[in-house]
């Protein structure tokens, strides 16, 4: 083996090791959710659906799941609409305080969720919004809109400004041009944003934990289970959660079409 070939093999091995590190925890959850043993251990105790059945019979888990679905759906719809509006305003117009406006939308994910959750709890309970499903949704929207604006903004950047101007010159009002030209052009990004916002909401636990009160979302249920005794149900819930967020992210990715290769070959 030549030195270059050896160095390449090492490089590939390093990347393979990195991806194993990233994938390992998710695999552990899925594999041991089907383990008959009560405590995850090697050797595997044999295939069993016992824990999966147990979570479907657990009323608290079911409630948490339903809450997560509603919160996720609400977040997906609202943050896609708001994210589109924010991205469009940022793309199209110049106005005073534009930087501030963009930061107000872009910044929430940069604030540690512990601090944001505490702040939201303090403020929202003052104005009487504590402990409601709608409040969790509203807070998730504040975070997910940031991702939504970013994805839709990228797409708007590809549009160019002349398409819309052509529509105006042909007599369309800005609102008509927006609905007939811009929105259809952004459709893939809107769909991607919908699924990604749902994924963001579906995995968020600290803020839902702070502002939700007695209403638990699925991640909050897991957090509360984790703080108790070892519970084999966690792997089963985890598998369901992972499958759902994996699906949401992969669907989003399909529509947004992340291709690094194109960029490289174009360069």
């Amino acid at each position: 083996m030549t030195l270059t070939a050896l160095s390449r093999t090492l490089q590939y091995a390093f990347v393979a090791a990195l991806f194993s590190f990233i994938a390992a925890p998710m695999l552990v959850i899925v594999v041991f959710s089907f383990d008959a043993n009560r405590f995850p251990a090697i050797p595997w105790g044999g295939f069993s659906l016992e824990w999966h059945r147990a979570i479907f019979e657990d009323e608290m888990v079911r409630d948490a799941f339903v809450n997560s679905l509603w919160v996720g759906l609400g977040t997906a719809v609202l943050s896609t609409v708001l994210g589109f509006a924010a991205a469009y305003v940022d793309h199209r117009y110049r106005f005073r305080g534009k930087t501030g406006f963009a930061l107000l939308v872009a910044l929430p994910p940069a604030v540690p969720a512990t601090i944001l959750g505490m702040a939201m709890l303090a403020f929202l309970s003052r104005i009487g919004l504590f402990g409601r499903i709608e409040t969790i949704t509203a807070c998730h929207v504040a975070i997910a809109t940031s991702f939504s604006m970013a994805i839709i903004g990228l797409r708007l950047g590809e549009m160019g400004k002349d398409l819309e101007q052509a529509a105006w010159n042909l007599g369309a009002s800005p609102a008509t041009a927006l609905l007939r030209i811009v929105v259809p052009f952004c459709k893939p990004a809107l769909i991607a944003s919908f699924f990604l916002s749902a994924a963001v909401s579906f995995d968020e636990f600290l803020i839902a934990w702070f502002v939700g009160g007695v209403h638990e979302t699925l991640p909050v249920r897991i957090l509360n289970l984790l703080q108790g005794q070892v519970n084999p149900k966690i792997n089963a819930i985890g598998t369901v959660v992972l499958v759902i967020s994996l699906t949401l992210v992969l669907v989003a990715q399909r529509f947004v079409g992340v291709k690094v290769a194109k960029k490289v070959e174009a360069a």
Binding site: I22, L104, M118, D203, G238, Q253, V258
Partner: protein, 298 residues
Amino acid sequence: MSQPVAEPVPHRARTAGSQRVLPAVLGLPVFLWQAVFFAAPLVFLIVITFWQVKSFRLEPAFVLDNWERVLLSSPFQRALVHTLTLSAVTTVLALVIAFPAAYTIAFRLPARLRDLAVAALIVPIFSSYMLRIYAWQIVLSPEGLINTLIGHLGIDPLPMLGGAFSLQIGLLTLTLPIAVLILVFALSGIDRTLIEAAENLGCRRSRVIAHVLLPAIRPALLLAATTTFLLAFGDYISPLFMTGSKPPTLSILVVDTVKSGSQWPRASVVGVAMLLVLAVVFGLGRWLGTRGTGKGHS
């Protein structure tokens, strides 16, 4: 009969009105939403740091007492130093691991595999971090997978959970996918002719990396570094589950202070202090990123 023809209206005049109305109709709801659910809570958090707790009730006031008590207390200072050290170590580790990986992904992998790698990096960013940490607990705990496995081979159990090692495993689980992703995008965007030119001029790989690649992606390196630092600094889950909160980080301190009842002003001080640290780190990152590239002056 032909359709009635409308008076020709110059489109400037027609759009002038809605050019004012439309941005307001679109922008105002987003602005209000973020103002109420994001900005106002943070502003309120700052305000509470000056409030007082009287007989277990939070009362408006303007006292500096909370700041003084928290900043001068040794638990806070210990947690601050611990959290800063922790995040700095994570940042260095993440960059040292992420750069070679990103390099291989961007320059060595065929296009299809590269896209697959990018997809495999995006997925974990949006899938439950808390569950992945729980999985590491199963793997690393004294009766965990690694220890039962090596036990069959007759090796004594290793104490892996509960210390700096497991904490870094946890924090890297959170930060590595993002760090690698940022660097892959940056390296993929580099003009290949630059590299070829350097190679034609006789540069070895190591020189190309040091003198062409690294300077070219400096902003991305700093973005990866600041993002990693931010995530590690604010993380609550890894310190909680990997070390059992010992020693406490600032996030643990915040949550414990909130949970312990009425000490909202002090918890807020810790929270605001954390935001100040992050603002300084980000400012520093931006300054380093634009310095010398000419972008800072435009």
